[in-house]
């Protein structure tokens, strides 16, 4: 009965280290539920039993203190405190030491997105792991404080800018689990939510092959969209025309943008490249110069892909451009 009720509390356990969290949780649950019911129940019984009979009645001074009973009561409380610490300690010690041979995955957190970098330099936006194979995450943040939470793995770790945090887990079930940023990271609306995909070894190996090249099997606009999602652009730039921290990407390509200094500029491949690498040089009117520069994080080929994707979002599409069109089609084509 208790176990059935408990099953509704914790999420499904799918990692080797879930037991060290769930065990103490369930035991503490039983102990504390019993204590709370006991204390509240006693109060209700006393209020009922010793209810005031007549208006002048007074309580029995000095009653209610029994040395042996009080001693037992305090021993029980002490035992609860000791149990709480002792039962949770082994799992905690384990969690600080990743096992030998764990797959190292680098995690970069920024508002709106996580990037997971696998050995060999492939970076993806969904965390993958193989059943039974421990994974150790080495995490850094590029802007504000973030957190990485995978409830099924009983994992929560804050990612603090300027520090490197580490956490590890061993998945035991092949499935897809929720993974999200669980620390408030601001007004930019989009909480980074992605997934942990646990596969058996063969599927995992096949997946590793497929992510080696983001351009393989994708058209340039598809690569652009992938980068938009992966690099965190979507936290500040919508594709539906709504205004967030930065301008929307809808119909942005090929239009004349008015800048903060009053001049106007044609949004072409050259302007887009400059705005990605040195975003605060030419800021559009109505916005603050707050964007993180992506210099060194995106190469020309990837920026070319983003430009191609932006064209597909614009009604100016491939028509409005003149010389700029030629320039950027060579940028896309020379690769």
């Amino acid at each position: 009965m208790t176990m059935m009720f408990l099953a509704t509390w914790l999420p499904r356990a799918a990692s080797g280290n879930a037991g060290v969290v769930d065990g103490p949780f369930q035991n503490l649950y039983v102990i504390t539920a019993f204590s709370v019911v006991l204390v509240t129940g006693l109060a209700l019984v006393f209020i009922r039993t010793f209810g005031r009979q007549d208006e002048d009645q007074r309580g029995d001074e000095g009653s209610g203190f029994s040395r042996p009973l009080f001693g037992l009561w305090m021993l029980a409380a002490l035992a609860m405190a000791v149990f709480s610490i002792a039962s949770g300690l082994p799992g905690y010690v384990d969690s600080t030491v990743p096992p030998y041979g764990a797959v190292p995955v680098g995690v970069t957190a920024r508002t709106g997105a996580f990037t997971f970098e696998y050995p060999g330099g492939n970076s993806v936006d969904t965390l993958h792991a193989a059943v039974g194979q421990p994974v150790v995450l080495t995490m850094e943040s590029t802007d504000v404080v973030h957190g990485l939470s995978i409830p099924a793995m009983r994992l929560h770790q804050a990612i603090v800018p300027g520090r490197t945090s580490r956490a590890w887990f061993t998945p035991t079930l092949a499935d897809t689990f929720a993974l999200q940023d669980d620390i408030f990271s601001g007004d930019s609306l989009l909480v980074a939510r992605t997934a942990l995909v646990v596969q058996n070894q063969a599927d995992y190996d096949a997946w590793m092959q497929s992510v080696a090249d983001i351009f393989a099997g994708r058209t340039l606009p598809e690569v652009g969209e992938l980068l938009y999602n992966r690099m965190g652009c979507k936290a500040c730039h919508t594709i539906n025309g709504a205004k967030l921290v930065g301008p929307s990407f809808l119909n942005v390509y090929g239009h004349q943008a008015k800048l903060r200094d009053g001049s106007t500029v044609l949004v072409d491949a050259e302007y887009i490249k400059e705005s990605i690498l040195y975003p605060n040089n030419k800021v559009v009117e109505g916005y603050e110069p707050v964007m993180t520069p992506f210099l060194g994080k995106l190469d020309d080929k990837e920026i070319g892909a983003i430009v191609e994707w932006l064209k597909t979002l614009s009604e100016h599409g491939g028509a409005a451009e003149t010389g700029a069109a030629a320039a950027d089609s060579t940028a896309g084509g020379k690769e």
Binding site: V21, V36, R58, P151, A178, F184, D187
Partner: protein, 513 residues
């Protein structure tokens, strides 16, 4: 003014009337009553923000989820800094403390009213910040987000600094009043337990109030000029360490006076002194010690060394010891008492239940492995909610129901009060038990009460909020209704002990003249 027969019939309320007269009054009773109005206003605002969250999230996060993030930020800031931490010392404390120790007024009557003015100004600044550019950076104001996020931060920081200074003034005033204002024949261990609770809370208010003002002003400087200990480039743990050092005890300096109030109320309704007076005082002092030494429990997953986190886990689990002492003697005071079946009794049961749950949650959060998993989830914020809505509010309402005849000279309807208390108890648990379950499932704290993964639990929690709301409305209308219906009230309607019951109801302006 207390000499005339007509005037003394209404005691301190009969003095000069009008808003100006009240807002410049140095009478501790008037200050306490005004604080009651202000803090109830803050509580209502907090409820409105919660309601906003519920409404906005019923159909998912809505078009602009930032509204929810902002509501959460201001909800917590208002409720923690303007309600939870100061509420019992500034309402029941100001009103009853001098009466209980046989003093004519607070030690520094001018400081009483100035603390209220600072509090009111702080509230106005906080609301101005909400109106003129609500910020959404979470109530912990974590750097670097609080340095770069858009929004009107200046009034927010100023408001918090003013509130901190208001705490400081209240704290100093309480400490001095108890140290110097007691009757000659009243030693420290003759003081009522509520006086002890408010006195100990006063030390925390004074110490943490000045610290809050200082760190918030440093943060403001960091944002404005880009320098300082919490400015750009500083380690986010620096700010968070100080923030929790100030805020973690806030829960305790709310709980210690709450414990004192509950003990005094229970002694009154069961007409029996507690059999372990010195144990209870000792437990309250131990709570204070635990309160100021456990801030690091919040920094565990933030990059604090695991060994340090373990030390803080051990320290914070010690809360069970004073809690067990208090629980034992609360029951022992009821045992073989002459227990009145009245509204304060219902709120006492609610307090006991909610305090038990809050202490239980401490065990989960202090246990190293489960604590690391649960620390950033709704499970942890449900504990704060249990302390705020469950313990401190229950103690406040028990105290108000108990001392209302003394404070106003009007009698409350006990049946209505008990019904309100029952709705309140039902509401709190219906509201927060689902949040505990959601938290255990991994729903993060402060992302809106019904973030993804809600399966009817969010709706249950919303329903609980309605019960809570109607419970509070019942209690408040009972208060207001009592003012309209004019039944004369005896000086000591409960047959309780204590100096406050020796004076007329309501007390004359000079208390013991």
């Amino acid at each position: 003014m207390s000499n005339g027969a007509v005037a003394s019939a209404r005691g301190y309320l009969a003095g000069p009337s009008g808003l100006g007269a009240w807002f410049s009054s140095r009478d501790h009773k008037r200050v306490g009553m005004m604080y009651l109005g202000w803090t109830m206003g803050v509580l209502l605002l907090g409820l409105l923000f919660q309601l906003l969250m519920v409404i906005r999230s019923v159909g998912g996060m809505g078009e602009d989820p930032a509204i929810i993030f902002r509501a959460i930020t201001y909800d917590r800031l208002l409720l923690v800094f303007l309600f939870l931490a100061p509420v019992i010392p500034v309402t029941l404390g100001y009103f009853l403390l001098p009466l209980q120790i046989g003093a004519r007024n607070m030690a520094l009557p001018g400081l009483s009213i100035w603390s209220l003015r600072f509090y009111a100004a702080g509230l106005v600044f906080l609301l101005a910040s909400y109106v003129f550019g609500a910020v959404a950076c979470g109530w912990t104001l974590a750097t670097p987000l609080s340095l770069t996020a858009p929004g009107s931060f200046t009034p927010l920081f100023l408001g918090l600094a003013l509130v901190g200074l208001s705490w400081l003034q209240t704290g100093v005033n309480i400490i001095l009043t108890v140290n110097t204002g007691r009757d000659e024949d009243m030693g420290f261990f003759d003081m009522p337990l509520m006086t002890w609770g408010v006195y100990l809370g006063g030390y925390l208010l004074a110490a943490m109030g000045i610290l809050l003002a200082v760190i918030v002003l440093y943060l403001a400087a960091g944002r404005a000029v880009g320098h300082g200990p919490f400015g750009p480039g500083s380690d986010p743990l620096a700010w968070l360490g100080y923030f929790w050092f100030v805020t973690r005890p806030a829960a305790y300096f709310a709980v210690i006076p709450a414990v004192g109030v509950i003990f005094s109320v229970v002694e009154g309704i069961s007409r029996k002194r507690t059999p372990g007076y010195r144990w209870v005082v000792g437990a309250m002092i131990t709570l204070l010690a635990v309160g100021v030494s456990t801030w690091g429990i919040h920094l565990g997953p933030w990059g604090q060394a695991p060994q340090t986190t373990f030390v803080f886990s051990v320290l914070s689990v010690l809360v069970v010891i004073p809690a067990a002492v208090l629980g034992y003697f609360l029951l022992a005071t009821l045992y073989r008492g002459a227990v009145a079946c009245a509204a304060p009794t219902t709120f006492t049961v609610a307090f006991l239940l909610h305090a038990g749950i809050a202490v239980s949650i401490s065990l989960f959060l202090a246990s190293p492995a489960p604590g690391a998993y649960l620390g950033a989830t709704m499970f942890a914020t449900a504990q704060l909610n249990y302390i705020l809505w469950g313990c401190v509010l229950a103690a406040l309402l028990a105290g108000l129901n108990f001392w209302w005849p003394k404070m106003t000279g009007h009698t409350l309807n006990q049946a209505v009060g008990r019904f309100g208390g029952f709705l309140y108890l039902l509401g709190v648990n219906l509201m927060f038990i689902p949040q505990l379950i959601l938290g255990a499932r991994g729903v993060p704290a402060d992302m809106g009460p019904f973030a993804e993964g809600a399966t009817g639990l969010g709706e249950t929690s919303g329903l609980g909020m309605l019960f809570l709301f109607f419970g509070l409305m019942t209690v408040v209308s009972n208060f207001i209704g009592s003012l309209v219906c004019d039944k004369p009230v005896a000086d000591n309607p409960w047959g309780a002990e204590g100096r406050e019951w020796l004076v007329s109801s309501p007390p004359p302006a000079g208390n013991f003249d």
